[in-house]
């Protein structure tokens, strides 16, 4: 159960105000926190709970829902051999969140990719420029309202079959 997970237990004590939701699905624990507290939560998980390896930073676009984006961090504890997923909601109007580069260097390129493909601004990132698309590209391809076939094309309406 998620209540018994070591990360959830501690986060409930320390960050009661910032913790929005926690759940367990298929043996994986997900905690959702307010984006204002994301750096404090990640720092606490890294230093005190030894989730020392930032596997991944990415985003999910829930177009039509509010808040629209969810920034997702996958943390791994090499000493404890377990994982936790931390999510932080980001609205379309204020599409920004603090950069985790202050905690992990691995966040540098991963956040650049999330910026490139989703248009999420990572505040205080040392070099927030596009990484996969060309520098002069317009739009953010992994957003749900970006047409599959590319810019200036009809939005994809599903397979014909």
């Amino acid at each position: 159960m998620a209540e018994n997970n070591r990360a959830v237990v501690k986060l409930k004590e320390r960050f009661a105000d910032a913790l929005l939701e926690y759940k367990e699905h298929r043996g994986e624990v997900t905690v959702t926190v307010k984006k204002e507290s994301i750096l404090e939560v990640l720092k606490y998980l890294r230093d005190d709970l030894r989730y020392n390896f930032l596997s991944d930073v990415t985003a999910v676009d829930y177009l039509g829902q509010e808040p629209r984006f969810m920034v997702v961090y996958h943390l791994l504890s090499i000493p404890n051999k377990d994982r936790v997923r931390v999510k932080a909601p980001v609205t379309e109007a204020d599409c920004s969140i603090d950069s985790a580069t202050a905690l992990w260097n691995s966040a540098n390129w991963l956040e650049r990719e999330a910026y490139d493909l989703f248009g999420i601004n990572f505040k205080n990132h040392p070099n927030l420029v596009r990484i996969l698309m060309t520098d002069d590209w317009v739009g953010h391809p992994l957003r749900k309202d970006y047409p599959l076939q590319g810019p200036d094309r009809e939005p994809y309406k599903g397979r014909l079959s």
Binding site: E28, S55, T58, V60, S106, L110, L132
Partner: protein
């Protein structure tokens, strides 16, 4: 005498960059001051495409990421979807997957040693390693009909059973490969040129390696004893007996030793799996997800309809999200799949090991000579198809 920083462009078409990688290097004489990698030349939008394809149709896309280890990409993906579905796979399918995954590790590491050695001046190893790799490719062709884009695994098991004569061919590899590894080591491990090019090159401490998110053999070369196959096992790896090699000096030579031991361990794993392989079903008993057997498709109308439904509509996956990581030859290959309950992934994120490892290149090569940068690219063992996706 006045001196100034020279900016040198390396790639995107350069034999030592292992694909279309472009590095803008700032040099003071021959000493590297700054490296700016430019990637994305192979970006095909696989994550975007996956949102518009059924779960089975997404599978062939994953072959085309790390094209030196296609079956590992398939493995991570099918395990992620099976985790979302809560589907268990028959024992035989698990064992065959392990055999193919470890053969893939051999295949990938053979390309690594071949290209890495060629890059820093040892051509003989290249010719030998590619000769051996061809044997693994033959096995790929036997099981899937393709040498590289295998698409052999299926959600729920395998696309078909092993062909006749497969086990004998694998046994030949098990018997001969350790001798070949000795040959490579004989050519390199005490070779003065090799030692001078690799010892003390591309040093990254364990703390820095974790900080930069380096995974796989490069992380173990820095002395971090962590292997997903042993520490967070999947596909039945917990039942195998193998060693996880760890380096001490955090340099290119230690990463070389780690990978060589890994190849020997892969041979042991395949041997154990082969001994345990028994006849049995290769697909889970889940008709709503798995393709029906070919005999039923060819000989009955119900089977044909079943096949058609699975191929055209796919199958719905319950709402939820999972992150499934496997120990790819390059490092931690993770699939983060979000399902909204439909027949296509709502979001598929691939955590590419080479992408994250490449992010540390400046840390590893800064202050060394330009020629050593080539050795650092080789030791990181990057594949641009997976970096750019």
């Amino acid at each position: 005498m006045a001196s100034e920083i020279m900016t040198l462009n390396m790639g995107p078409q350069h034999p030592s960059t292992h694909g279309v990688l472009r590095l803008v290097v700032e040099l003071d004489g021959e000493v590297i001051q700054k490296i700016t990698p430019h990637i994305g030349y192979l970006h095909r939008g696989i994550e975007k495409l996956a949102e518009h394809r059924t779960y089975h149709q997404t599978l062939p896309l994953t072959d085309r990421m790390d094209y030196l280890a296609p079956m590992h990409n398939n493995l991570g993906y099918v395990l992620a979807v099976e985790k979302l579905l809560g589907l268990d796979v028959p024992e035989r399918a698990k064992l065959v997957r392990v055999i193919m995954a470890e053969l893939t590790r051999l295949k990938s590491h053979l390309v690594w040693i071949a290209c890495h050695a060629l890059d820093i001046g040892a051509m003989t190893v290249f010719l030998y390693a590619f000769r051996e790799r061809e044997l693994v490719m033959d096995l790929y062709e036997m099981v899937s009909g393709a040498r590289m884009t295998s698409n052999y695994f299926r959600v729920g098991g395998l696309s078909r059973d092993l062909p006749a004569g497969f086990e004998q061919k694998v046994q030949e590899i098990l018997d001969t490969f350790p001798g070949h590894f000795d040959t490579y080591e004989g050519l390199l491990t005490k070779n003065t040129i090799w030692l001078q090019r690799t010892i003390g090159n591309g040093v990254i401490s364990a703390e820095d390696a974790i900080d930069f998110g380096i995974s796989g053999p490069a992380l173990r070369g820095s002395g971090v004893d962590f292997d997903l196959r042993r520490d967070l096992p999947y596909s039945g790896y917990e039942e195998f007996d193998f060693k996880v090699p760890v380096g001490e000096n955090c340099d290119t030579f230690d990463r070389y030793k780690v990978r060589l031991v890994e190849m020997r361990e892969s041979v042991k794993i395949i041997d154990q799996a082969l001994k345990r392989l028994k006849p049995g079903p290769i697909l889970a008993d889940a008709p709503q997800v798995c393709y029906p057997p070919k005999e039923s498709v060819y000989n009955s109308i119900e089977g044909l309809i079943h096949h058609f439904k699975i191929a055209s509509e796919g199958f719905p996956v319950p709402e939820g999200e999972v992150y499934m990581a496997v120990e790819n030859p390059k490092g931690e290959l993770g699939y983060y799949i979000v399902s909204d309950g439909g027949n296509m992934p709502y979001r598929m994120r691939v955590r590419p090991p080479s992408f994250v490892n490449l992010g540390a290149i400046e840390k590893m090569a800064k202050g060394s000579m330009l020629a050593d940068l080539v050795a650092v690219i080789g030791t990181l063992d990057i594949v641009l198809g997976e970096i750019d996706r």
